[in-house]
């Protein structure tokens, strides 16, 4: 059981970080970013290129993933989402745009990095073996700790920094924030950049464990939406809770239900349907939006 719980915490930490970026973008701009998984994949490939191919230190690669994805996020907001939101009141316009960007990024990633699964050298060797009750490679422990640290840093940044307060104000009431002097277009761009940066950081972290390939984007987006739905759309604490709940459900399901075949996600989806029927706004979301 200890192994199952350890796997759940590890999965939960990475899932929470993935969901944070998605929920931030949704909270700020009411955009369902279907390209979030592709941003994660792009972050993984940046780290792969800098750390795996060029041989530069991992920290540099992770930083490059964060910065480059923040730039991509800001560009997406500045040149695509921003103009579309200004010109169209219909929510499906941004949804279609996000889906189109996902396809575009898939094509760009295929051109730039190819179709193959890519991986990088382990950042830490060795395996923790606690009396065969918990077996966990040190690199997983490190990545889990880093993911938790990034989640904590993000919360502190949102809570105490001037930018974080402006972003929260924007998320709570866009018009009121504007009336109070918040530069909406500037902070929208910062918010989108921050969300994309989080996706890039997770990609950079996880490429050391799971590697990265072109096909990971879509399924990652689906899981991220799942977490956001569990926790409540647009709620930071909800995304974190959703990530850890999904990670734990996955770990327990894969262990307890393994003899019945691949039914874990069937059970998770069925449970989610029942849950959403009872509480459609998720654990921490508000029924009014």
């Amino acid at each position: 059981m200890e192994q199952v719980l350890a796997n759940g915490v590890y999965l939960g930490a990475q899932y929470a970080l993935i969901a944070l970026g998605l929920t931030l973008i949704f909270a700020l701009m009411n955009v369902l970013n279907f390209a979030h998984g592709q941003l994660y994949v792009l972050g993984g490939f940046v780290t792969y290129t800098i750390y795996g191919q060029l041989g530069l230190p991992y920290v540099v690669a992770l930083l490059a993933s964060a910065v480059s994805l923040a730039i991509v996020g800001a560009a997406l907001q500045g040149f695509l989402f921003g103009p579309v939101i200004r010109r169209s009141q219909r929510e499906e316009s941004t949804m279609l745009l996000a889906a189109g960007i996902a396809f575009l990024l898939d094509a760009v990633i295929l051109l730039l990095f190819g179709e193959k699964q890519r991986g990088v050298p382990k950042i830490v060797d060795g395996v923790l073996n606690w009396d065969f009750r918990v077996i966990m490679p040190y690199d997983r422990i490190l990545i889990c700790a880093l993911a938790i640290a990034f989640v904590a840093a993000f919360i502190l940044y949102m809570q105490y920094s001037r930018t974080g307060r402006a972003l929260r104000a924007l998320a709570q009431d866009r018009i009121a924030a504007e009336l109070m002097g918040v530069d909406v277009s500037r902070y929208s761009m910062i918010g989108f950049a921050l969300g994309a940066m989080l996706a890039g950081i997770v990609g950079g972290l996880l490429v050391t464990i799971t590697g990265v390939n072109l096909g990971m984007g879509g399924p990652t987006s689906i899981k991220a939406f799942l977490m956001v739905m569990i926790g409540g759309a647009g709620v930071i604490s909800g995304a974190i809770a959703g990530g850890f709940i999904l990670g734990m459900m996955e770990s327990i399901g894969l262990s307890v239900l393994s003899q019945y075949g691949d039914v874990t996600y069937l059970v998770i989806f069925a449970s989610l349907m029942v849950f959403l029927a009872i509480r459609p706004q998720g654990l921490m979301g508000k029924p009014w939006g």
């Binding site: 192994q3 199952v4 796997n7 759940g8 590890y10 999965l11 990475q14 795996g52 898939d106 295929l110 190819g114 179709e115 193959k116 699964q117 890519r118 991986g119 990088v120 050298p121 382990k122 395996v127 073996n129 065969f132 077996i135 490679p137 997983r140 996880l206 464990i209 799971t210 590697g211 390939n213 072109l214 096909g215 990971m216 879509g218 399924p219 990652t220 996955e250 770990s251 894969l254 262990s255 393994s258 003899q259 019945y260 075949g261 691949d262 996600y265």
Partner: protein, 395 residues
Amino acid sequence: MNRRSVLASLVLPLVASLAIGAGAQAANPKLKIGFVGVTSGPAAAWGISNVRSMQARAVWLNEIGGVKIGGKTYDIEIVTFDDQKDPKRAIAGMEKMAQEGIRYVVGPNVDDGAAAVRPVAEQNGIIYFPYAFPKALYSPPASNAVLGMVASYQSGPAIYKHLKENKGVKTIAFISANESDPLSQRADGIAAAKALGLKIVSDSVTYQVDTTDFTPVITPVIRTNPDLLVLSGVAPANAPQIIRSARELGFKGLISTETAQDATVLMEGAGKLADGFISVGGASTPEIASDAMKEFVARYTKMFGEYNDESNTKVYALEYIIETLKANPAAIDDVKAFKKTMDTFSAPNPYMKGDAKLKYVGSSSFGQRRQIAVPLVVNEFRGGKFETLFVAEVD
């Protein structure tokens, strides 16, 4: 605009079009060969190695003047369609090939896609070369599909027997993705293991095809501590991750698969942890590769930057199509003639040293010759590259 410039604007396009027309007349007619398979997503490496093999070989053949079939010389044109591993798209792809009048198609890469395109291929008189293993595709009354590689039920028993006799394997566990190809390969593997008297300690664990972290998935399998862990039908993208998770959880036994893998992907994804991993290799080894195979590898690498070991197998399908058409030029528009020729066809194998032959096999597995003969090469991964464990033949 003066009279001279008006004249020039009328005459120049006319001269240009005449020149282009004359050029077109001088070029060889095109022989279109199709590809319908997966070139995107986690299994993209399977289809892309097909497409790139066909394109590299086509460029090479066209460079040396084309292919002479029945007194007429053709340039080879490869028409490709990405089915995204979706049977519905595979059908659309095969219909596209039919609309373009293409008679010979390589692919699809997976079981459900190959089964889905069967009615389209049969109705439109298309011979296709799937990389899928359901026997019904190749056994009568089906007759339009030709297996393009060695099937898992042919390679699996050979691998298990070798490991039982040489490595003392007594217990075996299976893990597969929850989709048709890997599940059917797992069923074939279980049957083969039972026939060899191996004890099966785990055969129910499956994973979603888009799984990215395999540690929770594989933990229950590792607890059964098998001598041999078989990754049934594992995609190249997933193999290094499963191997890495298994080894990091302390698994000391052997790991094998009946699908082809990529050395670079294994090295990057699992590093030294993949040492000893056994897989079916591309149909070539340094010991049996001819000069033509070496040139093919060099050309492919030059064209696409990186070679894929699977292309040692994937290079064969186009070669079989062209050589069979050479043997019976009537088959260029008549697949019945092609089928008739398959029973007696034999030509020198350009990719192997010695007097190896291209020939259609499969009588013992399918009751008719609906499989191309390629060497069964079983590899062991070590130090970043594949080493040949053994080479066998299949009928």
